[in-house]
């Protein structure tokens, strides 16, 4: 796998590609996607030999964020791809590309109510059939955070208007410690 | 009154035979049930039953009482008539073959010239019982178990009969006593080792025991054909299974291991039973031993083994036997 080539493809498909400090965050790249590019992205990742580690949703404002985690069997390359669902809480499925996503998507539907359009069998997996609309992992109003609040904060605040994560790998441990001791 | 005295010996004989049969069936189940648990325990480096009586020797009695005290549950959608009838059908026929087994040269219920046929005919009834029991439970696992039991038993009957047939060709009789008598210089296991091996493998399958216990494969079919059975109707199946083990081991003893012959003991005519039982229980120990050693085979492999290995070898063995008998 040629990482530069792959990165170029990411840049074509995504709105932002970030290099992340593995030592702190435990993954290498963060890719932000438009929701209609998710399937193209997944197909491309499969071609490059990535496997789907995980698929999950994070409930933030303005919309629920779906996070796809990919990794590669041969080289260390752990990628977090993020996309926001639309107003109908819908996003297209990738379960026909990565069959392993099938159950993850059903689980996400159970817990967050994210509807994966085109999923072959979007029935409750973990929850009981009658609890379809329980959506237990959605946050209460009081706890719900804006997407910027859960992004890595730069040392000096430089917020941007759009929900564009600017994760800075410079989030140094020293800074963290001083923050804690305060 | 005269008539009564004239038939008294025969009546006594019948009564004694029946009592002995019952004693053997139940006693064997007790002994084997206990021995199997103990052996399994020690093979697994644990002591086995230890609580009831010294070294748990009353465990089986207690289990029997427990099983008798249990409610006979008939599943709601089962066929009640057949469901109750099947265990009886499995258990009842095991008494008859015991009558023709020569425990020693004098201790034999009846010496029929069709002795082997009696054993085989009544053994085949057991199969019908398993099939009916599995079907009438109205449980998919039971049904699978019954199907497996039938295909397996029918298939393994062939090599079993062929291996016995090679002995029959040498002795020219179905009478078990005559077969034992024919082994006076040398046991047939020496002359027919292949037939003995084939017979040994076949009886493992015939008695539905591991590694061929597919009809009751508990990791696949929970408990196979007796999934729905409980209490006494379950224990009748178990009694039948142990009695069948005893019968097939006895047949192996009679046909291959010289029956009751052995080093002469005082009162030889009757004490031959000691040698006989020793041989039978050695074989049963072997059955237990392999049960607790091997994993279970898969169904198609079981059938393949029968058709690709056992039957050709049994046929070749039979052919060689026939040729040798004709030549010598």
């Amino acid at each position: 796998m040629d990482i530069n080539k792959v990165k170029k493809q990411w840049q074509e498909l995504s709105t932002a590609v970030e290099d992340i400090d593995y030592a702190v965050s435990g993954y290498d790249y963060s890719v932000c996607l438009e929701r209609d590019k998710v399937r193209d992205f997944a197909a491309m990742m499969l071609d490059e030999g990535f496997y789907l580690v995980d698929l999950m949703a994070v409930h933030v404002t303005p919309a629920i964020e779906v996070v796809y985690q990919f990794a590669h069997f041969e080289t260390r390359c752990r990628v977090m791809a993020r996309a926001f669902v639309d107003d109908q809480v819908e996003i297209s499925t990738i379960s026909d590309i990565y069959q392993g996503a099938n159950w993850h998507e059903r689980e996400t539907r159970d817990f967050h109510g994210v509807v994966f359009v085109g999923h072959p069998y979007l029935e409750p997996l973990i929850l009981a059939e009658e609890d379809v609309d329980l959506k237990p992992l959605l946050k209460e109003e009081a706890k719900l955070q804006d997407v910027d609040a859960v992004r890595r904060q730069p040392p000096e605040p430089a917020p941007e208007p759009k929900a564009k994560p600017e994760p800075k790998p410079e989030a140094k441990p020293e800074a963290v410690k001083s923050q804690e001791q305060s | 009154m005269e008539i009564f005295y004239s038939i008294l010996p025969e009546l006594i004989r019948i009564v004694v035979c029946a009592v002995c049969g019952a004693v053997i069936v139940f006693g064997n189940a007790l002994v084997m049930g206990y021995a199997e648990r103990k052996l399994a325990g020690h093979i697994m480096l644990r002591p086995g039953p230890m609580e009831v009586g010294p070294h748990g020797i009353y465990q089986l009695v207690v289990d029997g009482l427990k099983l008798m005290g249990k409610q006979l549950v008939v599943p709601a959608k089962a066929d009640p008539l057949l469901f109750r009838f099947a265990p009886l059908l499995a258990f009842a026929p095991v008494f008859v073959p015991l009558l023709v087994i020569p425990f020693s040269s004098k201790l034999q219920g009846f010496d029929l010239d069709i002795g082997l046929l009696v054993i085989l005919a009544l053994a085949s009834i057991n199969l019908l019982a398993v099939l009916i029991g599995g079907w009438s439970s109205n449980n998919k696992y039971s049904l699978f178990g019954a199907f497996r039991a039938v295909s397996q038993n029918v298939a393994y009957e062939i090599p079993m009969l062929l291996s016995l047939l090679s002995i029959i060709f040498m002795t020219n009789t179905f009478s078990l006593k005559a077969v034992v008598a024919a082994q006076s210089p040398v046991w047939f296991i020496v002359i027919q080792p292949l037939a003995f091996l084939i017979y040994l493998v076949s009886i493992v399958a015939e008695t539905n025991r591991a590694p061929f216990d597919l009809p009751e494969a508990e990791s696949e079919l929970t408990a196979g054909f007796h999934t729905e059975y409980s209490g006494m109707s379950f224990s009748l199946f178990v009694l039948g299974e142990y009695a069948n083990m005893f019968i097939v081991s006895s047949v192996a003893t009679v046909f291959f291991l010289g029956g009751s012959s052995g080093i002469p003991l005082p009162y030889f005519e009757y004490s031959g039973i000691i040698w006989f039982m020793l041989k039978v229980y050695t074989l049963m120990f072997f059955l237990v031993w392999i049960r607790w050693t091997y994993p279970r085979t898969r169904f198609d492999q079981l059938m393949n083994f029968c058709w690709k290995y056992l039957i050709p070898f049994a046929l070749v063995n039979l052919l060689i036997t026939v040729v040798m008998v004709k030549l010598l």
């Binding site: 069997f73 859960v150 904060q153 963290v176 410690k177 | 399994a40 494969a217 085979t297």
Partner: protein, 375 residues
Amino acid sequence: MSMDIEVLEDSRHHRYVLNMGPQHPSTHGVLRVLLELEGEYAMELLPVLGYGHRCHEKIAEFKPAKSFMPNTARMDYLGALIYNQGFAQLLEKAAGIEVPERVEYIRVMASELNRIQSHLLWYGAYLLDLGAFTPIMYAFDDREHILDILEDVTGSRLTYCYFRVGGVSKDIDDKFVTSTRAFIDRLRSRFPMYEDLVNGNVILQKRLIDVGELTPHICARYGITGPMLRGTGVAYDLRRAEPYSIYSEFDFEIPTETKGDCMASFLVRFREMEQSLRIIEQALDRLPEGPIMAAKVPKKLKIPAGDYNSSVEAPRGELSYYLVSDGSDVPYRLKVRTPSYSNLSVVPEMCQGMLLSDVVSAMGSLDLVIPEIDR
């Protein structure tokens, strides 16, 4: 359209549904698999999950991240220490805590012992699925020794909560060293016995070879990791691929097989036990002195905002914790990616058209731990 339905019904006429589980001897817990059988061939499989769901991810959002440690042990009760390791590592990474070297060695040894005991239990239980009753007792005999060692150190036998953020709860002593060395010798001397009794057995080989074959491509599509993946010939082990803790310092092999069938993953797991023994041995040789707790671990562990991932090699495959923090000490979202979940999801494809007995052996080769799937 009606034609199609008719054809479908026609082809399915001989099929019927067998409900394997939730209480079935070979589903190892409360897993239910709906099988659509044709004769004894399973044409369709549908695993039904959720019988043992305990909302760990929701619980995590309600209490300080540090307090989630005991919950990790309950997800996979067989690889509890490795789950501890992953979570401790996640928080240490996030909070930037430097872990003393001795702690890393202790963690590695404990984790590897845990891995061996998990594999031993799988070994016995798998043989039980295949109908051999005795090996499980031998495996448990060996496993008890590990449990004794770990009990002496961690204080419990199954759901360990031994690792702490920044260290371990209790130091190891000479008794641990001697008993572990004795155990290593013992298990090594037992391997030939297992080879004779089980691995070489013709019945077992016939049951496992060519059953449930996987390819690396299938593994990528389903996200299968761990011994099943290594059985297909991909030497992907997170202890090597993304060396966490101090695994990069040890000399060990990643056992692989090429065929990808049940026998391959069976042998891979078996050989992994030997490799784990090697790691423990090296760790024992080099065990440094030092503190067992990081110097500065704040009482209230605030995690800087951002998202963190920590992946470790659990006995069944890749375990990933993904934590989203909003800057407080309570996780905003914690997602646990458990290996069995992805591994089980391949069952419908892997077992299609198999005999019922093969379904049992294929599912057993997944080494399922149901609480880990349901979480």
